[in-house]
């Protein structure tokens, strides 16, 4: 059992990335009411672009993340003001909008993944960056994982502070709570929704950059990450940003423990077991409101 502390630490390290991508998803659903099942595809785009920038142009992956983040922010922003705003304008009811937005996101999933397949090819590729072992508190850990963790935590905290402390963040939370009233209070709803969707895409892209430092990059990365993000988001409570970061870390630990004590193939079934128990016992998640 001397393995246990190392496994938990390693789970926390990878869980922070799950937390980051779940934060993006929960922002998109919590505010813009779009369950973006193409979220993982943004992660994949982040990973593929980081790989390309690093191997073709020698750009440091963290610098690449700083380039890709704003790029995907722009893409998400555009998607919200064109596609999802159009859907919202024509939908007869909120439920109809959510259903249509979900199906549109399914279309998006196909578009993004097949463009990536055409450009990048089907074979997984990897690169080495800071991939050496360092000693930390008696445990040997890969340095790139520690760097990824640090970046994820810094960005996670920054987004949290932005949402809770800034004026714009308050407008976002007001919109999540009650869009019509927020609109009456002078919040530019369409701008806020687009901002949230863009921010969600940015977080997914950065998470993708971080993932590309750790595992082989392939175009099939997206689907699995969407499923992980969805489970994390439900665990943390739909719409709760700090909840999803904490849930990300929990899922990271679970994944690390199941992989080493059992088999990697049981990871997803175990996630599902957790999800099922959660939906039966406390659908609101650990930090969500009832």
């Amino acid at each position: 059992m001397s393995e246990l502390p190392r496994l938990i630490v390693s789970g926390i390290l990878s869980g922070s990335i799950y937390g980051l991508l779940a934060m993006g998803l929960t922002l998109q659903y919590g505010v813009a009411r779009v369950l973006n099942i193409a979220h993982g595809e943004f992660v994949m785009v982040g990973a593929v672009l980081t790989y390309t920038l690093y191997t073709s142009f020698g750009i440091n992956p963290l610098v690449a993340a700083a380039i890709i983040g704003p790029l995907l922010f722009g893409l998400g922003f555009l998607l919200q003001i064109t596609l999802f705003r159009g859907l919202k304008a024509w939908a007869p009811s909120q439920a109809a909008f959510e259903g249509n937005a979900l199906l549109a996101a399914f279309g998006l999933l196909y578009i993004i993944s097949y463009i990536a397949l055409l450009e990048f090819g089907a074979f997984p590729r990897r690169y080495d960056w800071l991939n050496y072992v360092v000693e930390f508190a008696g445990m040997s850990l890969r340095f790139n994982r520690i760097v990824a963790f640090a970046v994820a935590v810094v960005i996670g905290v920054a987004v949290y502070l932005f949402l809770t402390r800034s004026r714009l963040g308050r407008a976002i939370r007001a919109t999540a709570e009650d869009p019509p009233t927020a609109g009456l209070m002078g919040v530019n709803i369409n701008m806020v929704l687009a901002l949230c969707f863009g921010l969600g895409a940015l977080l997914a892209g950065v998470a993708g950059s971080l993932i590309s430092m750790l595992i082989p990059v392939s175009t099939t990365l997206g689907f699995r990450n969407t499923v992980i993000a969805l489970i994390v988001v439900v665990l943390g409570g739909l719409g709760s940003v700090p909840g999803s970061f904490i849930a990300g870390i929990i899922i990271g630990i679970v994944s690390s423990l199941v992989t080493s004590f059992w088999q990697p193939v049981y990871v997803v079934p175990v996630y599902f077991g957790i999800l099922m128990v959660l939906l039966l016992a406390r659908p609101a998640g650990i930090l969500g409101k009832k």
Partner: protein, 330 residues
């Protein structure tokens, strides 16, 4: 018996019944003159018809978006995989449907008490979940992942599919017109109001979701021999969720025939485009899905009343114009 009187009293029945009978006869005799390629194409079209009609039956009318057709279809495929050496093909078909029914019942009981969003999330993950579970099961039982399915004659598969398709379409047609169908529609319209009107919404949702899944399981079993080799990645491919959704949305979920039209169009397109543009065509399908949702929310079937209105308007104008002319003449 007076034939003209019979025709005039049963005009509507004949108008629908005769073309359907002709189509049925055409389909039932097709393998005799159609050739291998077109028989297989028709089998695929029928498969997609069943998948999309049963998807639209539940998701189209209740508004609860299921992203899991691939999971139930895959359960059918693997039922065939696990049972092919112990049971005959016609017996396995209903068993596959039963397994999918049970799986959907369990999923429904966990998620359909909650808001639609939890259902969507759960069903989306279900595809990955089932594929991993089956992979684990397979490696435990056989020591490796993936297996061969004994091929069957094209005609056997075609007729099994045809019988299943006819049975499915009949069943769904009557379900849509039954109390259950109306309950589903009322849930889609306003769930709270439906509850107050005395509809046991959870029971209706769980039951109809399971029924729609059962049809998908049947199809899975029948398509398994076509695949020859299966592994969890092939059996639980996300396209089997995507295609029925695209077809139903394109055809229009409000009408019974909408998903049928969508299935025929896209099954044909898929089969013909796959050979020439293997990757571009899925990209194109994604774009089409988004465009249809944006600009044609009721699908092709939604266009029909609009066209009728416009046509009716034009006809009325013509008639009026004609009358006015007559008045002017007199």
């Amino acid at each position: 018996m007076d034939i003209t009187r019979f025709i005039s009293t049963h005009r509507k029945l004949l108008l629908v019944g005769v073309p359907i009978l002709i189509i049925l006869i055409f389909l039932a005799t097709f393998p005799l003159y159609g050739g291998v390629y077109y028989t297989r194409l028709l089998t695929t079209i029928l498969m997609y018809v069943i998948l999309s009609v049963s998807w639209a039956m539940f998701s189209g009318s209740t508004g609860y978006m299921s992203l899991a057709p691939a999971a139930f279809f895959g359960v059918g495929i693997y039922t065939m995989g696990f049972l092919q050496s112990t049971l005959p093909f016609p017996v396995i078909i209903p068993i596959g449907g039963l397994f999918s029914f049970i799986l959907a019942l369990l999923v429904g009981m966990v998620t359909l008490r909650l808001r639609g969003i939890y259902f969507a999330i759960f069903t989306f993950g279900l595809v990955v979940f089932m594929s991993e579970v089956v992979a684990a099961l397979e490696s435990d039982l056989f020591g490796r992942v993936g297996q061969h399915i004994n091929p069957l004659p094209d005609e056997t598969i075609f007729y099994a599919m045809l019988v299943t398709a006819v049975a499915t379409l009949l069943a769904i047609y009557f379900i849509r017109r039954s109390r259950l169908g109306l309950s589903m529609l009322s849930i889609g319209g306003n769930e709270e109001a439906a509850e107050h009107m005395g509809v046991n919404t959870t029971r209706v949702k769980v039951l109809t979701f399971a029924i729609s899944a059962a049809f998908m399981g049947l199809v899975g079993v029948i398509m398994a021999p076509v695949k020859v080799y299966i592994d969890p990645r092939i059996a639980f491919s996300l396209s089997y969720s995507f295609m029925p959704i695209l077809m139903s949305v394109f055809g229009g979920m409000g009408q019974f025939y909408g998903p049928v039209v969508g299935a025929v169009v896209f099954a044909y397109l898929e089969k013909t485009l796959r050979a020439q543009f293997p990757q571009y065509f899925m990209l194109g399908f994604g774009i089409i899905l988004i465009l249809v949702i944006l600009f044609l929310p009721n699908g092709i079937a939604g266009l029909v009343p609009k066209l009728q209105n416009r046509l009716g308007g034009v006809l009325a104008k013509l008639r009026k114009g004609g009358e006015a002319e007559q008045h002017a003449n007199t």
